[in-house]
Symmetry: C2
Subunit: 217 residues, 2 copies
């Protein structure tokens, strides 16, 4: 059975659908048509229907989509149907900020451990989890069947750390270091390159200003 590969474009839109559906659900709205969702989200109704139909028919002709059902289904597609264990590597401000993101940890991402290279932090706690020396990381990952490592350390250490994580069997790395990690295909990586995003912002500022200058002429 040739499993149709879902494009990155589609997958990238799923979390946003999920967010809007969650809000509709909270507002007690039971059903929604692709047209109404289109108005709300500012994407075409056609795209919405195409996207959902990658995963099977979630709607009903003449009725639309049941909000709660669709929400749950997209959640399952996104892997939110079960718990994921997680450790944080790097207990600085960023690591601490991430560990505190209730959004995540209400959604089945279970914060199990924190590691740092700085001995001064050992024994301190973030979110009631003790910060451990990085030397204990491998054993911890294996003992606790950790799936995800949040990599919140400087880039010069990140490549080596990613290698260690891969070697002890991590399944996924959420990478905040500003390097591209080279990992085998059985390990998932999501990069959050914050400075890339800031550069796009400054590009936007400049481009807008230039367009204004031109218009004023």
């Amino acid at each position: 059975m040739a499993e149709k590969e879902i494009s990155q474009a589609v997958i990238g839109r799923l979390p946003r659908y999920f967010r809007y559906l969650g809000e509709l659900k909270e507002q007690g709205i039971e059903r929604i048509s692709s047209q109404d969702l289109s108005d709300l989200m500012k994407v075409t109704a056609s795209q919405i229907r195409q996207d959902f139909n990658n995963f099977g028919g979630f709607g009903q002709q003449g009725y639309g989509y049941n909000v709660e059902y669709l929400y749950d289904e997209i959640g399952k597609i996104l892997g939110l149907g079960r718990e994921h264990t997680l450790i944080i590597i790097g207990a600085g401000h960023l690591g601490q900020a991430l560990s505190g993101y209730n959004n995540f940890f209400n959604r089945g991402f279970i914060f199990k451990g924190a590691f740092d290279l700085n001995p001064e932090l050992y024994g301190k706690k973030i979110r009631n989890i003790e910060i451990r020396p990085i030397e204990e990381m491998e054993q911890f990952v294996r003992d606790n069947k950790i799936e995800i490592a949040v990599l919140a350390i400087p880039k010069d250490q990140a490549v080596k750390m990613a290698e260690r994580l891969v070697n002890c069997g991590i399944k996924a790395i959420w990478n905040f270091a500003h390097v591209d990690l080279d990992v085998p295909e059985n390990v998932q990586v999501e990069n959050v390159h914050l400075s890339d995003s800031l550069m796009k912002l400054s590009y936007g500022i400049d481009r807008y200003e230039k367009s204004q200058v031109k218009t004023r002429k």
Copy 2:
């Protein structure tokens, strides 16, 4: 003169080019061909040449591209040719983590002020900048000609805060709150929806596992 609009796809790739060129420059490499850069970055040489040629001819036939020149030019395109003033709204861990990102502040993003809603934080300092009450924000933005606001507050306050920022003349919002902001087109917004990124990661884990189960049969 019909200014050709550069596609988001191209702009999205510029920061990555910029990063690789910066590294090449640090290594003292003077020139590089699109083919060599292609091997390094795992994108096609054709795409590299097309991307650069959106902005004019940066290369030379038979020679390739001068690393330092190309680096500088892409930097200018990204708006890094001048300084950008910036304030942080929300002095929690995330705000503090961002304020400490040397990467940014070496690149012309000048951290001018920090604001919070929690009175307990007033007067405390992050990165040698005093945390101020949010009521002073509008005046501060005007007085200091602030361009960018980093929005690191919970989503239920973010929409209202974005409105206030727009009203006092901010040029850009770097949004870490988990909502889509609706702002006029003269204000730039870059969203960093961290949980979207985490969901894509869990999607990847699940999809990989399912593919393995199938293969094993």
